[in-house]
Each structure stands twice: as C-alpha cells, then as structure tokens.
C-alpha cells in the first residue's frame, strides 16, 4: 500500500467521523435518553425481543409488560437478567445506558393486539 492510498483512507475515515449526524441535534434530555435507549435496544435487545419490542418466539412482548412496571424494578431486571429463563444479565452496560434503555421502554405504547 503506497502513501497516497494511506492518505486517501485516512481522509475518508476523517470525513466519515466528522460528518454531521443524520438526526438533528437533540437538546431535550428526555428525548435524548429515549433515542439513546432505542439505539441500545436495537443493539442489545432486538435480536430476542424484536425490533419493535413486540416479542418473538424467544422473548416476550415488552410493550405490554413494561408500562405497569416500576422503572427501578425494570432497571434491576435488566441488570440481573433472569438467567434460568434465558434472559442475560446486562450489568456489563454502565448504569447510565441501562437507564437509557428503561427510558426507551417506558416510552413505548402497547401494541394494537395488547390494547
């Protein structure tokens, strides 16, 4: 690989890093936490609970369940998981990120079937 290729690669990566975010800058802390929680949910939870949190054959519909649950309980459940039933512990995520997931889950509306 010659110097020119290296330079082009570096410039490409720098441009990607500096590119403006696709979403507008979020100033409301609650909205920011909800969006961050949604992103974390997609990364860590959607594989089992579904991209829309409506559940799959592996894991339950969260839209129905979380509205009645206390946020602190939900945080504790995400932290501990339920290892015997296949729900992993997410204590590896910092507290701040687990609270962002809770914020997102509490923002979900029940699915049509659950109403």
């Amino acid at each position: 690989m010659n110097m020119r290729s290296v330079l082009i690669s570096v410039l490409f990566l720098a441009a990607a890093a500096c590119a403006p975010a696709q979403r507008a800058m979020v100033t409301d802390p609650h909205v920011a936490a909800t969006l961050a929680g949604q992103k974390l949910f997609e990364q860590h939870c959607a594989a089992c609970h579904g991209a829309d949190a409506a559940g799959t054959r592996r894991a339950p519909n969260l839209r129905e369940r979380v509205q009645t649950l206390d946020a602190a309980f939900l945080f504790g459940f995400i932290t501990n998981g339920d290892l015997r039933r296949g729900m992993p512990s997410w204590s590896r995520l910092p507290d701040e990120r687990r609270w962002q997931i809770v914020t997102y889950l509490k923002s979900l509306e029940p699915s049509r079937a659950a109403r």
Binding site: A36, K39, L40, S89
Partner: protein, 283 residues
C-alpha cells in the same frame, strides 16, 4: 511470511466488516482475563485473535486462535478454539484445539460474581497462542523450532475461578488458574487480573462510529505462580498489558493490547489483536 499473514488478517477484518450482521457486541478489552459475563443465548460469536512476538532466542511468529463461542444457557457459555501459528524462516502449522466451558455460579448480580471455568486442550508443543501463563512458562518455551516442538503432544485440563464485578462503569476481574498436563505432570498455577472502563458511560442518541461510548480502555496483568510442589513468583513470567476495544455499531469489535514482560523469564513484548463479531442464531 509474516507480512503475508498480516495482509490475510487485514482482508479477514475487512470482510468481517462487510459481512457483520446487526447484533449485540459488548466486549471487554482484555485478552487473558475473563469476567463473569456470558455470551448471550442465540448468538454465535466468532473471534480471531492474532498474537505477534519476537522471542529473545527464536524467530518472529504470528500465532492465532479462531474462536467460536456459543451460550447453550444464559448461565453457561461454551467455546471452541482452533489454534495455529506461523514462524518466520520455519513453518506454518495448526497446533491443536481447545474446548472451554464457563458456568456462572450465582444467578443474580453481586458485588463479586464467581464463575467456574473448565477447559480441555489437545495441542502440540508448537502452540504459541499464549492464552495464559502458568507454572514456570517463559520465553525459553518459544525458542525451540517448530519441527522439534510439534512432536510434543499435550493433553491438558485447565480450571479457573473467575471473580468479577461492575461498579460505576468500571469492570474489575481476577482469575486464579490451575492447569494440569494429563501426562502425569504436576498442577501449575497462574493468575490474571484486569480493570477496564468505557470512555463514555452514557450512549449518544445517534449511531456513531468514533464516539467515545464505543471505546473501552483497560489494563490487565497476568503471570505464573509456579507448580504444585513449588508455589512461587521466582523464575516465573509476568506481564502488564494496556488494552483498548472499539465496538462498531454493526456488531464488530476490534481490540488491541501490547503486553510488556516484567521479569527475566518473560518475553519482552507481545502484541495482541482481536477481531470478533456476533451472528444471530435462528429467528
């Protein structure tokens, strides 16, 4: 030969970047130290962990393990390693395989969480993946040529007690290692300990590549404790290794860790790299 291996490694990493499916990935930056976190069920994690070294009285080499990690249960993770190495001016060869199982002993999170680790390894003497250091392991083990060392067959059982916890974003772990060659050799002991933290604790609202939340920095120390009849730190090898991991949004994690030998029995320097990504299993 080493240059060719590095080019292959770069191609593998690039291919993995292109093919990586959307899946969770939250890897610790450590290479030797284990923590209590298991693989998530329904995910298959593929890892490739090359190690580059230039022994004091031997040829440079690139050793690597291809790892396949799977969790049959949320409290049980099993892993298969296929080891190989390429030594400059000598040869390239497959050096064996290892099967490990990790079991969480407590079902809830505690300040300190114990995990039992059991591994069976069927390798030959040319294995240079250096996944841990036990007994009186030293740089001398790497000095023999591949043609000689590959003739030595090793069947080993390795156990670890893993203790770890997460506190305010910090991950702390300590491992006690006991390894026995089944050819009747004594138990050998070792340790590993690590500390790590993400560079940002909260996530940003947008998907990003270079934001601080995607990086974790850590440090780990590992080495040998001697043998059953001679538990000691004298004439054993010890290392200190800063480490960095970068979790890309698409489930790929890249890691790097230079390790510095601290005693005369240690290799002076080891360079570890890691590429891993997770594939969802079934839907």
């Amino acid at each position: 030969m080493l240059r060719l291996s590095l080019i292959r490694l770069a191609k593998t990493a690039a291919l993995a970047l292109l093919l990586a499916p959307l899946a969770s990935a939250q890897e610790s930056p450590w290479f030797v130290t284990y923590d209590h976190h298991m693989e998530e069920p329904h995910q298959l994690e593929l890892s490739f962990e090359p190690l580059l070294a230039s022994p004091r009285h031997g040829n440079r080499f690139l050793a690597s393990a291809l790892e396949l990690e799977f969790a049959p249960r949320a409290w049980w993770t099993t892993e298969l390693y296929l080891d190989g190495q390429s030594t400059a001016r000598e040869s390239t060869l497959v050096t064996g395989y290892r099967i490990e199982n990790r079991f969480r002993l407590l079902m809830d999170e505690h300040a300190v969480n114990p995990v039992l680790y059991v591994e069976y390894a069927a390798t030959n003497g040319a294995d240079k993946t250096l996944r841990e250091f036990v007994g009186f392991d030293s740089w001398r083990d790497l000095a023999a040529s591949n043609s000689q060392s590959r003739l030595e067959k090793e069947r080993e059982v390795e156990t670890k007690l893993i203790l770890s916890g997460d506190h305010r974003g910090w991950s702390i772990a300590g491992n006690l290692i006991a390894e026995k060659n089944l050819a009747g050799e004594p138990w050998e002991f070792g340790y590993a300990a690590g500390l790590s933290r993400p560079l940002a604790l909260a996530a940003t609202p947008t998907v990003c590549l270079f934001c601080r939340e995607n990086f974790s920095a850590g440090i780990e120390a590992y080495g040998g404790f001697g043998e059953q009849q001679q538990i000691t730190l004298a004439a054993t090898s010890h290392y200190i290794a800063p480490s960095l991991s970068w979790a890309l949004p698409d489930g790929l994690t890249l890691r790097v860790s230079p390790a510095f030998g601290l005693t005369s029995a240690s290799n002076r320097f080891l360079m570890r790299f890691g590429v891993s990504y997770e594939i969802p299993m079934g839907r």
